[in-house]
Symmetry: C2
Subunit: 339 residues, 2 copies
Amino acid sequence: MSNAITIALDAMGGDHGTDSVIPAAISALDRHADLSIVLVGDRDTLTHCLARQRVVEHDRLRIHHASQTVGMDEPPAQALRGKKDSSMRVAINLVKDEVAHACVSAGNTGALMATARFVLKMLPGIDRPAIISAIPSSVGHTHMLDLGANVDCEAEHLLQFALMGSELARAVEGIERPRVGLLNIGEEDIKGNANVKEAAKLIAASPLNYIGYVEGDDVYAGGVDVVVCDGFVGNVALKSAEGVAKMIGNALKQEFRRSWLTMIAGAIAYPVLKRMRTRFDPRRYNGASLLGLRGIVIKSHGGADALAFGNAIDIAVKEVHKSVPSRIEERISALMGQG
Amino acid sequence: MSNAITIALDAMGGDHGTDSVIPAAISALDRHADLSIVLVGDRDTLTHCLARQRVVEHDRLRIHHASQTVGMDEPPAQALRGKKDSSMRVAINLVKDEVAHACVSAGNTGALMATARFVLKMLPGIDRPAIISAIPSSVGHTHMLDLGANVDCEAEHLLQFALMGSELARAVEGIERPRVGLLNIGEEDIKGNANVKEAAKLIAASPLNYIGYVEGDDVYAGGVDVVVCDGFVGNVALKSAEGVAKMIGNALKQEFRRSWLTMIAGAIAYPVLKRMRTRFDPRRYNGASLLGLRGIVIKSHGGADALAFGNAIDIAVKEVHKSVPSRIEERISALMGQG
């Protein structure tokens, strides 16, 4: 592989499959001059889809055939055993074989996790992959992990998440000492469950810039760079936040449609409301990294459209540029050497 | 006690103490003709505060002296052992002694929980109190519990929460068969941790109207009446939601203040934005019930102002009218009889 970046896309995954992936790929190639893309999936389907977009295969946009597709509700174990030629599996294989520097999939999260872990293996010192994503805050964004890969975590896992999250924030945001907070239900030392209290001790004893417990609202206030929690809590917190944002958005629409007077007010306020919508557009935050693997795997939301999928590609490009997995590996090996 | 309702207020609790409680009490008496209030706290302070509001003690507004105050950060065990004449403890005692039908406190949550449990005791068949509150949804509101009383729950506790939450929704909302959902990180049966899966079996086997797993965003979408979760998850979810709502509110303000053009747009849109603010005003949702006790105890947010504290009083009035604890007791004893 040269200096240029190659990214494999699971072109058949997600609710919209090629309809999202192909336009996203084409526009990502425009944005990144050093990028090459491998579309993984059924060759005939992909050739046909490219033709519809008046595009043919070229140096930077190639098709790699895969005969199977993992269903969005397919049990991970079944996908792992029975779909060895799925677009998802083949895209991950390309990362393992160093044909691609990263892969992006909007497919079934469980299957992606299981397959990536099986094919790529974990970094030394990391027991489990964790899902991390940037989340909008009042002053920029906060990185939060785990967002659903691990439903039962021990304190030691939360420490590993803290290390990985901190290194990712350092790499992609250029923050020298990211502020790491542990999600809890109060900021006092006596609060929280046994696991969280134990994790607090471990993280406080590490060289990380640990700022202590943070609460659910702190994620959005912007005083912390990396928020660590178990996957159950993280997933519920994230989806609750999405639910509230949606409810407020719908209520705003409703209120502005109430009468012709409010509709006029809405028309006048439109540019401001549009800026708001852009600022918190979940598509601009689409793309979560599966951290802890020996390779870069980005999970796009299953319902992602081309814009959202494009954002996930951009995240992959950034993590390749910043060599996130090797940085995590180095960091952990340095810490182990110290320990 | 006659048909009239008497409510004891911990007049010294919360960040604002009497400044919130006394105006809230005076306006609650205006709203509820059948209500009497007992202000619990230092008699001199309370007499002085009433005088400043040009009010004197009367039939429906009495002072009950208590010499101590529980600090907002005081450890619960210390408050329980060392503050036997605190405004919080005495207000709860009045419920136990049947002088008051309910009490409301904006004080230290941990101390309130511990004291209420110690003084009032649990209903038969209930192991632990749970904190429940109404949360705004797109179509009205959802009741969610536990919001932070229990950081480690077993499946059996989640079943108890489901029973109590369902009965509360039946009592105060008049919904015959409230839809009960169990908070999880996916709607498929295979998702979730062992505890949640076990609880799902127990709740599904109960006579409740169990609709299955719900996710964080479902709380706000409005398809469920009662959402059950452990206190750690519930607290994080609620605070995350509050954090997002605040962030969006602040961003809206910011965007409308960007230039004189947007300020004019903001002025024109003001009535609509004000309606929005009223609709989701957290003060209108202030007041969480400590369910499972032999008595009604309402926890107000520590930072509640008079309007917010007044809402907590209204919740107490409603629960007294609907005899929530006896209804829960009857429901559980009926179920146990069946079991």
